[in-house]
Symmetry: C2
Subunit: 335 residues, 2 copies
Amino acid sequence: MKDIKEIIADIAVSTRIRLARNVRGIPFPTGAGETEPEIVKPVYTELSKLGTFRLFSMEKTGATEANALCERRLISPDLMRNKQSGAAIISENESISVMINEEDHIRQQCFLNGFNLDEAFAAADRIDDALSDKIDFAFHSDYGYITACPTNLGTGLRASVMLFLPALTITGQIGQLIHAVSRERNTVRGVYGEGSAAEGSMYQLSNQVSLGITEADILSHVAGTVVKICSAENEARGTLLKYGTLEIKDRVQRAYGILTHAARLESKEFMSLLSDVKLGAALELLQLPPSGTLDELIVKMQPANIMLAAGAELSAEQRDVYRAEFVAKALSLIS
Amino acid sequence: MKDIKEIIADIAVSTRIRLARNVRGIPFPTGAGETEPEIVKPVYTELSKLGTFRLFSMEKTGATEANALCERRLISPDLMRNKQSGAAIISENESISVMINEEDHIRQQCFLNGFNLDEAFAAADRIDDALSDKIDFAFHSDYGYITACPTNLGTGLRASVMLFLPALTITGQIGQLIHAVSRERNTVRGVYGEGSAAEGSMYQLSNQVSLGITEADILSHVAGTVVKICSAENEARGTLLKYGTLEIKDRVQRAYGILTHAARLESKEFMSLLSDVKLGAALELLQLPPSGTLDELIVKMQPANIMLAAGAELSAEQRDVYRAEFVAKALSLIS
């Protein structure tokens, strides 16, 4: 029997902490560029004292590179659209990304692998301390940090954990779970894919409310929900194995066979097959190492990241061929 | 450029000659057993002078073994049903099978790999000569050999060639071709599968008429149609490669990936994937040896042959698992 820590390690892919901040007395970003404060420079200067950071102004960043950052979730589509004054300051290892003039003036983000809310929050908090020494953040004694959207008022904190939930998806229990979580003021939504279809069985759990609650309580409430969801996923995996061993074995082995042999792979099919292969690895039906390497593939195989790596604009078909070759090689290297 | 001989070698899987004969003055077989002539013993005695033969009386042959013979096309379902007096006398290498009391009293069959009408006919003719020395065959000076069904009157000869026609199947030209062939008094039909769906893209070309035409003319007419069909298949393969290289490459590579990785394989899916893999080998998109080994798999993976090899009655699911394991191993051995 696995204990809950091991279960969570199998299921929680990554953690993100985001703190929303604005500069006192200056209008929220509009994208028009004229009323925006000169904060890129001071923020970059402060961050550079803490480590090696790279500055991406949305005006000067090419479309493919900006899309690639977006696919790596370091910046948002909203930031990309603010060509006038949008910018991102990103640490060398990509664990820190501070977005300037997205919806708020400053959005400090910290990303870590696995389930690591406390450490991610501590890292974001260090950035926040450093910046608040130099910048006068808009803060109200009743409402806390002032943000463009009321849902971020208060702590300005969004704590998110990315979860790999293939068994809950296959058994169809995911819908019920999303509903139950939302009643407890947390949110679960698909990370990839449009609408309700979560490509790759990847879901993001986040807190819904940041006002009238401390940072510590937000973190512990999200952590509690992570435990519940991971237990449910673990149970669903057990059910799949117990009542459909041959079916699930066939499914994951075929997915592996196709991923290592296809001559072209569309993004959506790739995500679905990779999800099956990762499930197979988790259930020890496939002899593969833990899923870290496989998770990296998800980001590397997104369209703009493929083109960035290939150093060329590629058609959809060319990307599908590149994806098939890359994935086959990557899987054969780790098998 | 391949010449027509090489093209035919790529496409024609096997050849079968069948001669229908009956004993003068005795009613055709009815399956009732009482009126049937005592011909099993004399036929077996004569054949044993020519080589090593094994006698299977339908009364004593178990269902699995009889079905396995049927799947190997050595006997027919009609013969199987005649438990009273049906029998088959089969040579050790299974190239000769003489059915007793099927629709006719005696049906002499010769099977050879590849396209080999003349040699197969010569072998059947040798059997026919040997038996006609001892048995008085029903023969009419106008109608030739007398047979139970009028379509076999005359020579009693059916010359068949099994053809692998994946490209004509994929491009949809096969329907038109079947129609054209039938107007020239030959027949093309799917070998496996029910109704119009030819599993594994395997088709059998045979002469339709055996009356009012010499054996030599039947053979040369069938041979002429083989040349036409193989040329058409070869052209269709070229078209597939030229206009859909990536599509066909993806299709055959995926088929190989699934065949080598699935945990269970239903018969119908196996036939379809094997057809793709064989096409891939023929187009040199897959590094596989010529298709002889792959064709053997078709027969070995039929339900009764699986149970005979496993030495046990197996459920459909158990057979699917056996098939998946056997095929994966067989392909990995020849790859």
